[in-house]
Symmetry: C2
Subunit: 181 residues, 2 copies
Amino acid sequence: MDTKTLCLGVLTQGDASGYEIKKAFEDGPFGHIQEIGFGSIYPALAQLLREELVTVTQYTQEGRPDKKIYSLTSAGRLLLLDALDEPTEPDKVRSDFLFRMMFAHLLSPSALEVMIDDRMAVLNAAIAGLQQAADDQFAPASETFINGYALAIYRAMADYIEDNRYQLVGASLMPERAVAE
Amino acid sequence: MDTKTLCLGVLTQGDASGYEIKKAFEDGPFGHIQEIGFGSIYPALAQLLREELVTVTQYTQEGRPDKKIYSLTSAGRLLLLDALDEPTEPDKVRSDFLFRMMFAHLLSPSALEVMIDDRMAVLNAAIAGLQQAADDQFAPASETFINGYALAIYRAMADYIEDNRYQLVGASLMPERAVAE
DNA sequence: AGGTACATGTAAGCTGTTACATGATTTT
DNA sequence: AAAATCATGTAACAGCTTACATGTACCT
């Protein structure tokens, strides 16, 4: 999925500015799909406009740049549909956390504990946020599905780490304990 | 994590060629951390060599290019340790599958079913592979931890999709059914 | 006969990130 | 008083992917 298609996708949910598209990828269900920054969004929107896949309406504002609200054209909507028909690429992950866990034996037990605690805090915050979002009865089926999916994964991660962290820390502590006992 | 640090990480597990490093990121526990291609590995290895973070031994082979086996230097090992101490970046995901699920209502029920079935097949294959790997009693703690973590996540995904796919397909089918009944 | 595994490397192109530029209003 | 929110955009840089280049050996 390139940035252009991602923007097209958000615009099916209603007209939006570049700023609002960015927010959709931070908070909403799109946040679980992938991240994008302004540096990708604004050039993508400009290109979509050139290709007439979106139109723009400019609202003058005082004290800040004009707000540009983009709308899908029917060509844009069709292009999204085409993109959806293309073969689905495998999910991609990049986990700095797992990389560190791979070298748990090279870390001090305290440094390891801090990393794991930090990770648990992030996961628990995400879980709390998603549980609140789950209460929304008016959300469309796709949003409910994606929020539930993300919640299931975060819970599985948190549960697994909680249940198995001592294996990892244990591998580091074991020699000290053997001496003490 | 840049490619250089990733290579350094694999080399702590023993000397390896660029080709073998690639394989480690396909099959082994590193496969759950992230993907890398030859086009990233070979230049990274060349640069690590220039910076004297690795050494190389060249084995002449007939009918194929010389095999270059890289080894960590102590400077390389120290640099990895430093990298491990730096703040952990948040995990990054890119899910083409979830993007499609977001637009389930724009897809035909049959196309949706195919996408979900394909996804389940990939997940079930990954789960089967990881269950086999879990039988290895001699694997280090970190590998066991990471394989178990990946297994827990894949199971959570598969279970969630199996339990909730009808919500998504239902949203698409409902109008037809209402007429039929 | 064709595909996969082995084995390394370069170059071009595409994508994405980060920093810079600008500045008011609202919240903590 | 500082930080966050609102709001857009460019330019430079870094990184990654893909294609190209080359060729043997084994398995189906």
